[in-house]
Subunit: 111 residues, 2 copies
DNA sequence: TTGACGCATGTCGATATCGGAATATAAAAT
DNA sequence: ATTTTATATTCCGATATCGACATGCGTCAA
């Protein structure tokens, strides 16, 4: 058995820098593959393949218009990542950490 | 060239379910490898290898005590992931999205 | 109809995984 | 000194990538 497929889940899909770059390049707009090739500096096949992975995990949606394809980011697909990593936020966020301590004290006081 | 190494950055390190599981298994405690083997159901070499990857990207810290090794999560290493994914939060958070619209309107009003 | 354009897909070689089994290292116990 | 315990490392076969290049397919233009 080898490493999990990049299309296995969102975590695997965004592990590649180029794919995060593509998502950032699209941003809040609707982009054509050609525009992304220009913005990213990647080859056209590369962009298409990376978009294929992003599409497979639901991170982008496509709309066909003639021979052009308009891609847009579908952010909600990132929620699993956000939810998972958010649980660790208090580890570097001092304010949340102090809130944690406070809640711990309150729980310790009440029998 | 092949896929980036799992030790290349935090994104690659957490792309594996087993490694996220280990981080969650450690939680806020300090764990020994044996405890993690028991909790995760993975083999001992597996656990050691995954911990090696997590250690390489700074996601865990170790402390030696005799022949035992105490591992703990070093959360701040996750900040790059959090920061990146947080930019997309407004895509699924309706309240933030409306705030975005409001800010856009305000900016459109002022010349 | 022929050709140019926009994008997707296939092939290839190189590589870095993954799990499993065996082995190595190091410390404690007998 | 030997053996057991706790953990790390190595070797193995299988596999899914990645980039580069070539090709296929649908669409618009001349």
């Amino acid at each position: 058995m080898a490493r999990a497929a990049t299309t296995a889940d969102v975590f695997n899909a965004i592990s590649e820098v180029a794919r995060r770059g593509l998502l950032d390049a699209i941003g809040r707009e609707e982009c054509t593959v050609g525009e992304l090739v220009a913005r990213s500096g990647l080859s056209q096949p590369q962009v298409s393949k990376h978009l294929g992975v992003l599409r497979a995990v639901g991170l982008v949606r496509v709309r066909s218009e003639g021979r052009r394809r308009w891609y847009r980011v579908h952010g909600p697909a990132l929620k699993p990542v956000y939810d998972w990593v958010r649980a660790y936020e208090r580890t570097w966020n001092a304010r949340l950490d102090r809130l944690d301590d406070l809640l711990g004290e309150l729980q310790a006081e009440s029998p």
